[in-house]
């Protein structure tokens, strides 16, 4: 199968790789670029474990072709920590015991990050809607919702 070049920014770093034509962004990230933070769950667009941010928009990397991301800016959970310091969402997830098996967590965090990027002070309903495309089979969602609200509060205190 022919290989095609793709270039995009991954967590702020320029990346240029050859990938097999028609391969998904999820596959390219995990198997070509070594970023295993997006998880291969259902690969049907149902579970949200593969969720990443492409040009500021939430996308399912399992249903997005790598070739369609040419020139895009891609963010994954692997790029959130800064110089060893966890992102406030990651910190709140850890402190609030909002990850059990952890498989949904990277996708859940990216969905929550998109929410907080656009709505810094969300309501509980905003959070529920924001993570409505992400399935968690461990926590019952409540600790995750609380963690997102805690991260938002932490952000607003810093801003204040």
């Amino acid at each position: 199968m022919a290989r095609v070049p793709v270039q995009f920014t991954l967590n702020g770093q320029d990346r240029a790789e050859f990938v097999e034509s028609g391969v998904t962004l999820l596959h390219a990230l995990r198997h070509t670029m070594g970023d295993t933070s997006p998880k291969a769950g259902c690969q049907q667009g149902t579970c949200g474990a593969c969720t990443v941010i492409v040009d500021g928009e939430l996308r399912l990397s399992c249903l997005t072709l790598a070739e369609t991301c040419e020139g895009a800016s891609i963010e994954t959970a692997a790029g959130l920590a800064n110089e060893g310091l966890l992102h406030p969402l990651q910190r709140a997830i850890v402190d609030g015991f909002a990850a059990q098996c952890g498989f949904c967590t990277p996708g859940m965090i990216m969905a929550a990050k998109t929410l907080l990027d656009h709505t810094p002070n969300p309501t509980r309903d905003d959070v529920v809607e924001a993570i409505s495309g992400n399935i968690c089979r461990c926590t019952g969602y409540e600790p995750i919702i609380q963690a997102v609200l805690t991260a938002a509060q932490s952000n607003s205190q810093k801003a204040g």
Partner: protein
């Protein structure tokens, strides 16, 4: 599994490329890439078009033309299409809404295709590379075409907010796969009686369908419990609901009249 991707700047070139066996049009990927991931080996390649017209929403003289590549998120971001917002919001979670397109939704098999249920109730027209068709005709023939059309847009009279009564019933809150989806575009006369009705159902067949018998039964009736009884009794006429992990055909048939009644009275 790897497949060739052909990208064209013109709709015509993309349409021509679809004539090859096994080539499927790639919109948002929520149907076609999903099928490939699931192991559909009949798909041998993708065709996509970057033509700007496919991504345009145009509103003129009360008529909206929505490009086939317009996403559910773009519908939700457009204030002129507020009447469609409850329908677009019923599709998936935020990531799916950023990807799922109006054109793709026309081809979504049950239990998907909620947006098309709304378009069917609103009497939309489907524009494709081979001409225009009322949405009901398009849906009836969508799988029978020898040469696949490339849908370019849908057009419809801009619905005011609240004109379309829309209900998606799902077991998972706030967003889940549909048990049954109902859309009703009703016009009432000065006496509050129904003067025209278009009712569309999702999951009650392999694709969205009209409830013609119930529509007729509503004409001249007020939307009160006593007067909608006949329409509620016949809402299931002509349906052939799907059975899937979400619900059995029997269950869908049983709950349809209940939810239809609530939609009319709510």
């Amino acid at each position: 599994m790897s497949l060739a991707v052909q990208t064209f700047s013109s709709v015509r070139d993309a349409s021509d490329a679809l004539e090859s066996e096994g080539i499927r049009y790639l919109g948002g990927g929520t149907l076609v890439v999903r099928a490939v991931n699931e192991g559909d080996v009949s798909i041998t390649g993708y065709v996509r078009s970057t033509a700007p017209t496919l991504q345009t929403i145009d509103i003129a003289e009360g008529r909206a033309t929505v490009g086939a590549s317009v996403t559910m998120a773009a519908i939700l971001a457009h204030v002129g299409l507020a009447g469609l917002h409850p329908v677009a919001k019923a599709v998936g979670g935020p990531a799916v809404r950023n990807m799922a397109t109006v054109g793709g939704n026309l081809f979504a098999p049950a239990p998907y295709g909620d947006f098309t249920v709304g378009l069917l109730a609103l009497d939309a027209t489907v524009h494709s590379s081979d001409g225009d068709a009322p949405i009901e005709d398009f849906l009836a023939a969508r799988n029978d075409r020898r040469k696949p059309d490339l849908v370019t847009a849908v057009s419809l009279d801009v619905p005011s907010a609240g004109v379309l009564r829309f209900l998606k019933v799902s077991r998972v809150k706030p967003r889940g796969v549909s048990v049954v989806t109902i859309a009703a575009a009703l016009a009432l006369d000065d006496a509050g009686k129904v003067s025209s009705a278009r009712i569309a159902l999702g999951c009650m067949a392999d694709r969205p369908m009209r409830a013609h018998v119930a529509e007729q039964a509503l004409i001249g009736r007020q939307l009160v419990k006593e007067e909608i009884r006949e329409a509620v009794a016949v809402i299931g006429e002509g349906t052939n609901p799907v059975t899937d992990p979400v619900a059995s055909a029997w269950y869908r048939s049983e709950v349809l009249p209940v939810h239809f009644s609530r939609l009319l009275l709510g």
